[in-house]
């Protein structure tokens, strides 16, 4: 069996990542999904969280934050469609916390949703699961 799976990370404005990788972890709606080459066909929506990309020897290549979206998986390919994508390295905790405070007291539906996304951004920054496998 192939030892790599092709992975696309797509945002509305551009294709962000496109390469062959060893493994991907995506934040599925009902829990994190680890995707290895030869994964069965699956379609899932995503919750806000981290998308982690690993090389062939399971070394962490890149990590992104996505604010939700979809993943389509078949044995040769994994495609993540995300609305907002940011590289984890480019996130700054202080500014996000500031934003979180701003949004905390808002009551409209939209800002509540924003709040949830920002909150999970913080969580994503704090968590270090899966960093070494």
């Amino acid at each position: 069996m192939e030892s790599t799976i092709s992975f696309d990370l797509v945002a509305p404005e551009q294709l962000i990542f496109n390469d062959k990788v060893g493994m991907i972890i995506v934040p599925g709606k009902e829990g994190d999904l680890g995707v290895l080459p030869g994964h069965s066909k699956l379609l899932s929506s995503l919750r806000p969280g981290r998308v982690l990309v690993y090389g062939e020897s399971k070394n962490l290549l890149k990590s992104f934050f996505v604010s939700g979206g979809f993943v389509e998986i078949n044995p040769e390919k994994c495609i993540v469609l995300a609305e907002e994508v940011e590289e984890m390295n480019s996130l700054e905790k202080a500014t996000i916390e500031q934003k979180m405070l701003e949004l905390e007291n808002e009551t409209s539906d939209e800002s509540k949703q924003q709040y949830l996304i920002v909150k999970s951004k913080i969580e994503a920054l704090n968590s270090s699961h899966y960093e070494k496998i």
Binding site: P12, E13, Q14, L42, S45, F70
Partner: protein
Amino acid sequence: MPSLKDLKTQINSVGSTKKITSAMKMVAASKLRRSQEKAEAARPYSSRLEEMLLSLASSSVSGEGVIKLLTGTGKDEKYLVIPVTADRGLCGGFNSSINRATTKFVNSLESKGKNVSLITVGKKSRDFFNRIMKDKIIESYVDVTESGYDGAFQISNKIQSLYFDDKFDKCILIYNKFVSAITQEVTRQQLIPLDIKENNEKEKKDTDDKNSAAIYTYEPDESSILKDLLPKNISIQIFKMLLESSAGEQGARMAAMDNATRNAGEMIDTLTLKYNRTRQAFITKELIEIISGAEAI
């Protein structure tokens, strides 16, 4: 007969117009390239989303709520028409062809007794429809192409909230489809309910060939994915169409300015000819005066 000075000023002013139009042509050409790149970059997302939607939509989920975006309200009474134009003029027939097509379409709907409302995108359609059918306009958006995906997202949210308030049954977009740098095609696209059949037949073949045994596992389940997917699809459709329209605008402007530059060049040529003739006529006249004056002595 115009004096030499008049001709000179005229030549100069046409010359400076020519400079401006040729500069605008260059600007449009470079902007065209950029918008084309943007449209190119957005393609993977929209085509993937469409594929996903196709595989789901065929599974005939029925129900209330968001699903109505796919199935429609079952009525055919109220229409929402969205003409998309540019914010700026000087791009040939780009804006006016949209406005004309929209007016025609609205009139034909009304003659069938349908109720029509409008959401305009772009300054040019806003100004135009404010003049002739102000009462139909629900909302106007300007400067959306600059704000990228967020702009499309806003419009899509507005449309959806109107839809669920039962303000319309069908939503139709009228925009300029980018065919090539010099041609745009006025296109009517039905946004709600989703016009899946048309795409389906075209793409069915591909999917049939590729994965006829495509049985996906859905997580959480088909209908909830579909519920997430449908609103997103609307935003992305709008986004795609905005990008196409902005690329088309630059293309149209480039062509219009190219024409204007050429016309100005021709005008300068004829004016210069006229100038030279007039000058020569003056000289001849003066010479005759001098000669006849000398002869008289």
